[in-house]
Amino acid sequence: MHSFFELFGRYFLLMRKVFTRPDRISVFWRQLILETEKLGLSSIAIVAIISVFIGGVIALQSSFNIVSPLIPKMYVGYMTRETMVLEFSSTMIALILAGKIGSNIASEIGSMRITEQIDAMEMMGVNSANYLILPKIIAATVFNPLLMLLSFIVGLAGGWLIVAATGVITISQYVDGLQMEFNNFYITYSMIKMAVFSFIITSVSAFFGYYAFGGSLHVGRSSTRAIVSCCVAILIFNLILTQLLL
């Protein structure tokens, strides 16, 4: 229990060091663009591929499970939309990104720590935590909600493709289902969740990397601990945000 609170304390102390004014604003903007490309743009393909397949699978499974003639077939579209917007495009994509960008951040910063690159920055008088971590947090927190939107749209398109290809229901039934009782706030809710999850992924992974020690084995362990911690934190915050926002 003591070490848990110690870990928390160190995390907040690191965040205090991260959220300070950058040493050079121009350098910060340059880093922000680089990190947006590295953490956000490079994830577009994986998010799109997973979403299109999951959208298709949800549409198929929904249509197979609606066996009662009393339930209209357009509910396939409705269920695909609700599943994508409420959980998959935010929580599931965040869990996938925790594996992809979380391990990337923890291992990158961890390697810099054990090869004394972070010490070298500190020696020059550079706030290494701010220089290395702040652009990552802001890039992911701002850009990843757009990935959530992309996942949602591509998932619905995946459902549409499967419906068109298999003919389990008509396309007009699917589209009617997509438009049925649409609550705009679900998009906002999902984007807020994604922003919070992205903050967790980047800050927690960076924390484990920043305090890595020893050799490459320890960097690997830090990376694993980062991903596990991110996943647990995402699941907990998913519950909290759902209770708070819906």
Binding site: V27, T115, E116, Q117, M124, G125
Partner: protein, 252 residues
């Protein structure tokens, strides 16, 4: 001039530095020697503020560095260059970007001015034509030289080198040693070098401090060291058969 007064440092109740006091003069190559695990690197990192001393004072000229607030220490560090054991060059940057890094962060120079300074520093350490290479594409000796170029980019008054010739062949090690001595004299820098290489001690050691089990055991010049009476120091210096033989020959 750097002065350390009664420095203590422990990790998890294990005392690593035990009442160390020393002074390091400008324009001279000050060497800290000792066996692996004796506390050399901890002493060096404590002197530059990467570790906080548990007790004691560190003075940079008239400034009590060890008690400076974080912000002032940060400013002070811009006047300190450090060469790390493994070079510690940034993986994400080319040689040119590595040397340019401190200039970008702390000066308002134009890109052309920065390039000019980078070229000067790289030329000074004899690195020509590798500006666009990444650190992983360089040999160990070249990485060390780029590390020195980066350390001197801001014209520091203090230079710290942590085992600058570890992992290098004897010829390259001598080149690095000579480079450190030349730069120290040329710019009148206070240089502190951590090493356990006896060649370095004899080549560039204007002042030598021997650390044994976290304590300052001996202090003197490289000329005095062969005649030192300390058993621990003699065991360290004359550890190999070759040095023992040389000692016998010199005694005759």
């Amino acid at each position: 001039m750097i002065k350390a007064k009664n420095i203590y440092k422990s990790f998890n109740e294990k005392t690593v530095l035990d009442d160390i006091s020393a002074s390091f003069e400008p324009g001279k190559t000050n060497l800290i020697i000792g066996a692996s695990g004796s506390g050399k690197t901890v002493l060096l990192k404590t002197l530059v503020g990467l570790h906080d001393a548990d007790a004691g004072e560190i003075w940079y000229n008239d400034v009590l560095f060890s008690r400076l607030p974080f912000k002032e220490k940060k400013v002070m560090r811009q006047n300190i260059g450090m060469l790390f054991q493994g070079g510690a060059l940034f993986d994400f940057a080319t040689v040119e970007e590595n040397v340019m890094f401190p200039l970008t962060m702390f000066t308002n120079k134009s890109y052309e001015e920065k390039r000019e300074r980078v070229n000067f520093c790289l030329k000074r350490v004899d690195i020509i034509g590798a500006e666009k290479h990444y650190p992983s594409e360089l040999s160990g000796g070249m990485q060390k030289r780029v590390g020195i170029a980066r350390a001197i980019a801001l014209n520091p008054s203090y230079l710290f080198c942590d085992e600058p010739n570890s992992g290098l062949d004897p010829n390259t090690a001598i080149l690095i040693d000579n480079l450190i001595r030349e730069i120290t004299q040329e710019y009148n820098i206070t240089t502190i070098v951590n090493t356990h290489d006896m060649n370095s001690v004899m080549e560039i050691g204007d002042k030598v401090i021997y650390i044994y089990q976290g304590k300052k055991w001996w202090e003197g010049s490289s000329a005095d060291i062969l005649q030192a009476n300390s058993l621990e120091l003699n065991n360290f210096i004359f550890a190999s058969n070759m040095t023992k033989m040389l000692k016998k020959l010199s005694a005759k």
